[in-house]
Amino acid sequence: MGEITPINPRVIFVNETEPSDKTEGKLWYNTINNSLYTSNGSAYVILEMNLDDLNKQQLQQDLNILINSVASSSTLNDYEDMFVDIFSDATGTDNTINTTDTTAVFDTNKYVYQSFEESADLSKGIAQTTDDGLETVFNTNYTADENIIISEIILENNASQQNNVVINVKIGSDVIATDTFNFYANQTKTVSFELSDYTKIIPKDTIFTIEVLNGNFYCKTGTTFDAGDYMTIEEGTQTIPGSSGVEVSMTAMKLGWDSSKPKLIIKTNAQTIEENPIAHQIYSDNSTTENGTINYDISFDNGINWVTDQSLNTKNASVHEGENMIIKLNLNGTSIDDKIEAKNYGVMLFY
């Protein structure tokens, strides 16, 4: 009978630094980046699970379901060609979305109608006179006083170069916006999250955190931080940079009704079609509340002429000649209460 090795009762290390115990197979949960590592006997390497193949399969199934849904919205099944895409990311599963001209806001797996009031500088770190030592993180908690989106954070480096600086906007442990960059001495770095794939709305009365990791900040005690109109700084432990370190300011956008933007659009790139269809019909898995509506514009000549404000799920016969189709899904709002979402589109062309 061979020697029985007793099992070390410590299953997983939960720490911000790499454990000194490098026994092969040990696990370490890194509390800084919330990632799991495993030891190969001499060092801890990140444990990754690649779900790309599964995601691809799922999206192919979703596309087939979408084709069936679109087809069943056709009365006589008399269409010739169908063009479909799913808003699984901002560009669409089949990359048909024109993200430059699209004004609707992408959120996880759909485009939404969301109106923003103009942005304003809301917060600025104010340095005190007493140096309180070197810190490696900046970490401040706020309460959102309105539904807001953090669109921009400006960091000013008054210290030496710092590499791989990570900035996170978090609700609890959920990172809703993030960026990583090298930060040079005397540099002002603007991190823009506006309308990015990762930015999410922070609901009113929610506590959120701005944190900066891997930097060396000279911090001050008793520092005040002007939180602006749309948020309140939380009482408790704040680590705030001083004049000789990094200063942080940020711009937030209040969510509100902007009468100058009653319509937000989801616009596709031009797609080559058989020329001169005689009718078109569009399906989109969508939801609307209050007075929000959704309809579409379509062009067959690469955007020169447009057929506008067409109803979904209706065979529309207004056309013009052409072989380059662009679609605009119009998310039409009338007030802050309107919520409009669209998850995909399918257009049927008739000849």
């Binding site: 009365t75 006589l76 099944n77 008399d78 010739e80 479909v84």
Partner: protein, 42 residues
């Protein structure tokens, strides 16, 4: 993604067009038949 309709029933479509042309059925009636069939499928 482009998808070509592989199940188009040209004879049925032509018949319906004739019925519509003669004023025997309307587009709304055809839609209602389709909706009813869809519900029965479920």
């Amino acid at each position: 993604m482009k998808y070509k309709n592989q199940n188009k029933n040209n004879e049925l479509i032509a018949l319906v067009e004739v019925l519509k042309g003669k004023g025997i059925v309307t587009e709304t009636e055809i839609k209602n038949i389709k909706l009813k069939n869809n519900r029965n499928d479920k």
